[in-house]
C-alpha cells in the first residue's frame, strides 16, 4: 500500500480513473503516513482525516459511474494554511487568528474540490507568509526531509510555504497549494527538490487567501514533477468576480505544453544575477542549465536587467506597506483572539496585536506603517513603486530579445535553523533571485536540477513573459528531462 504515496499526481489520477486503486485506498495510505511522519516533520498543522475520507468516498462514487469525473478526481492534496477552507481552522499560522474557522471557501481550493480533489489537511507556513525559513510559524517550523551528508542538523524547508514543500518532498500528499509574494513557492521548492510555479499576477484568484501584500500575492502549486505542477495550476487558476485583480482570460491547458520542444527558443541569461559571494556550486548549476538548454536546441542570449539590485529593497517597502494596511483588520473585535487591555478600546487593540502577532510580523508592520506615514509616503512608497516600473521595463526590454530567462532559484542550498535568523536583512537576501518576478508580476517556475556537494537539492528558475506560463513549463520540462533529478532524501524520521 505504501507505494501509492510515492506516485506522481498525474500517475495517481490515471490510476484512479483506471480503477487500479480507489481514492479511499490512496487517501488512507496518506493518512497513515501522515500519522507516522508528521510528528517528526511538522508539515501539517491540521489533519482533516474524516473530511478526507468522506471526500474520497464521494470521489469513488463518481469514478465508479464514470460520470462527471474531475481532472483531479480522488487525488489527495495538502492545503497551505493561508487558504480559507470552510469549516476547517485557518490561521495563516498566526496566533492572532486564534481558532478562526472560515464560514466560506477560497476560490483556489473550491476550484480543486470542483475537480474532485481530496483535502488531507492544512500545511505549515511562516506567520502570514512573512519569512524565508518557516521559523515564524506559531506551530514551530517543519523539518526539511533533506539533511547534509553526515550531519543531523535540522534544515529549513524554506519559506513561507515550508509545510507545503516538506509535505510534497516527503510523500505526505500528491501535491500542495502554496503562495508566493517574494519567492515563497520557488525558494521552498528549490530547498526540498520539488517543482513550484508562481503564475502571472491575476491568474489565480486571491479570494479567500489570507492577504499579505495584495499587489504581489499569487497562489501556485508545489508538486513532484513539472507536469504535475501544470495540472495543479490549470485547476487552481480561474477568472473570478470576487477578486477585482483577477484576469478575465481563459486558463490555458498547460499540461499540453509539457514535452514540447524548446528548439529555436531564445533563453536569456541575466548578468546581474551573478551576485557577489555566490557559491561556486550555484554558478556551476547555472552553467549546467545553460548547457542543457543549448543541447535541447535553444539559443542562449546574454541580457541585462540593470535594476535587479534594487528589487529587494523596493520589495521591503511595498510588501510591508501593503501588509500594514491588510493586517489592520486584525483588531480582535470580529474574529480571532482578543486580549483585553483593561483600559480603553485602543489599549485592547494594542494588546491584542502585540500578543497576537509574532516578532517578524510586528517588525514589518512597523516598517510599513512608517513608510506610509505622513511626510514619508513620497520618499518611500511612491519611489519604490516607481523603481518597480523600472524593474518591469528591464524585463520588457529583455523579452524583446528572448522568450524566457534562466537563473538559479536561490543563492544557496537549504540552511540550518537559526543560521540566518539573527539579521533580518540577511534572511531577506534569500529572495534575491525570486522577488523580481513578483514585482513585475511575471510567471516563474523552479525545477530541481542537482544536488550540491553536501547532498542537498538546488533549483533552477525560469521566468516567462506575462501570461506565458507555457514557456516556463516547456523550458522547465526540458530542464527536468536533462537533469534526470531523482535523488530522494534519506529517511531519518
Amino acid at each position: 500500500m505504501t507505494d501509492l504515496i510515492n506516485l506522481t499526481l498525474s500517475d495517481a489520477v490515471d490510476g484512479l480513473k483506471a480503477k487500479q486503486f480507489s481514492s479511499k485506498e490512496i487517501t488512507q495510505a496518506f493518512l497513515t503516513e501522515i500519522d507516522r511522519s508528521n510528528p517528526h516533520l511538522n508539515a501539517y498543522v491540521v489533519v482533516t482525516a474524516d473530511k478526507a475520507l468522506a471526500m474520497a468516498e464521494a470521489a469513488d462514487k463518481k469514478l465508479a459511474t464514470g460520470k462527471s469525473v474531475g481532472k483531479l478526481e480522488g487525488a489527495p492534496l495538502g492545503i497551505k494554511d493561508l487558504f480559507c477552507t470552510e469549516g476547517v481552522r485557518t490561521t495563516a499560522c498566526s496566533n492572532i487568528l486564534g481558532e478562526f474557522t472560515p464560514p466560506y471557501e477560497s476560490t483556489v481550493t473550491q476550484n480543486l474540490w470542483n475537480e474532485g480533489a481530496v483535502m488531507l489537511g492544512k500545511l505549515n507556513m511562516d506567520e502570514f507568509a512573512m519569512g524565508s525559513s518557516n521559523e515564524t510559524s506559531r506551530f514551530g517550523p517543519p523539518s526539511n526531509p533533506w539533511r547534509r551528508k553526515g550531519s543531523n542538523a535540522a534544515l529549513t524547508a524554506g519559506g513561507s510555504s515550508g509545510g507545503s514543500a516538506t509535505a510534497v518532498a516527503s510523500d505526505l500528499c500528491l501535491a500542495a497549494t502554496a503562495s508566493d509574494t517574494g519567492g515563497s513557492i520557488r525558494q521552498p521548492a528549490a530547498f526540498v527538490g520539488v517543482t513550484g510555479i508562481k503564475p502571472t499576477y491575476g491568474r489565480a484568484s486571491r479570494y479567500g487567501m489570507v492577504a499579505f501584500a495584495s499587489s504581489l500575492d499569487q497562489a501556485g502549486p508545489l508538486a513532484k514533477t513539472v507536469k504535475d505542477a501544470a495540472l495543479m495550476l490549470e485547476v487552481m487558476c480561474s477568472a473570478d468576480d470576487r477578486d477585482s485583480t483577477s484576469l478575465h482570460l481563459p486558463v490555458p491547458q498547460w499540461t499540453k505544453s509539457i514535452g514540447k520542444s524548446v528548439k529555436g527558443m531564445k533563453i536569456g541569461v541575466p548578468k546581474e544575477y551573478r551576485v557577489a559571494g555566490m557559491p561556486d556550486e550555484i554558478e556551476k548549476l547555472w552553467s549546467q542549465g545553460i548547457a542543457w538548454l543549448k543541447a535541447a536546441g535553444a539559443t542562449i542570449v546574454d541580457v541585462s536587467l540593470p535594476h535587479t539590485k534594487y528589487a529587494l529593497p523596493a520589495y521591503y517597502i511595498v510588501a510591508p506597506a501593503e501588509a500594514s494596511s491588510n493586517l489592520a483588520r486584525y483588531d480582535g473585535m470580529r474574529y480571532g483572539a482578543r486580549v483585553s487591555g483593561g483600559g480603553s478600546l485602543t489599549d485592547t487593540y494594542e494588546q491584542t496585536r502585540a500578543t497576537g502577532f509574532g516578532a517578524e510580523v510586528q517588525r514589518r508592520l512597523l516598517i510599513g506603517t512608517y513608510v506610509l506615514s505622513a511626510g514619508y509616503y513620497d520618499a518611500y512608497y511612491l519611489r519604490a513603486q516607481k523603481v518597480r516600473t523600472r524593474i518591469l521595463q528591464d524585463f520588457e526590454a529583455a523579452f524583446e530579445k528572448v522568450d524566457a530567462l534562466l537563473t538559479p532559484t536561490t543563492p544557496s542550498a537549504a540552511f540550518a535553523y537559526g543560521e540566518k535568523s539573527g539579521d533580518p536583512v540577511e534572511m531577506y537576501l534569500n529572495d534575491i533571485f525570486t522577488v523580481t518576478a513578483n514585482l513585475a508580476g511575471l510567471p516563474a517556475i523552479s525545477v530541481p536540477a542537482a544536488v550540491d556537494s553536501q547532498g542537498l537539492p538546488l533549483g533552477l528558475q525560469v521566468i516567462g513573459k506575462a501570461l506565458d506560463e507555457e514557456a516556463c513549463f516547456k523550458v522547465g520540462a526540458a530542464i527536468e528531462d536533462a537533469a534526470g533529478f531523482n535523488a530522494r532524501p534519506e529517511r531519518w524520521w
Binding site: 485583480t245 534594487y310 485592547t348 512597523l366 520618499a379 523603481v387
Partner: protein
Amino acid sequence: MSVDKNTVRKVARLARIAVAEDRLDSMAGELNGILSWIEQLNEVDVEGVEAMTTPVAMSLPMRKDVVTDGGIRDKVLANAPKTEDGFFVVPKVVE
C-alpha cells in the same frame, strides 16, 4: 532618515501595537538596519517614471449594481470573541 525611540513609539501607536518602553531602543536599531539598507533606492533615477499600479494592464471589470451576498448574520458572527443577541460585543467606544 533614521528613526529614534520617539519615532518608534509614534509608529507603534499608529500601527496599534503595544511596544514595551524597554524595547523601543532595540526596535529602533532593527528598523534602522532595514531602513538604511532600503536607502539605496535613492540611487535610482525615477524622473518621469510612473508608479507601477498593476503588472498586467487591464480595466476593472464592471458588474450590475445589485446585492450579491448577505443574509448570513450567524456565519458572520460565528468567529467573534464575544456576541450577544446577534451583535458583536466590543469594549466601550464612546465615553
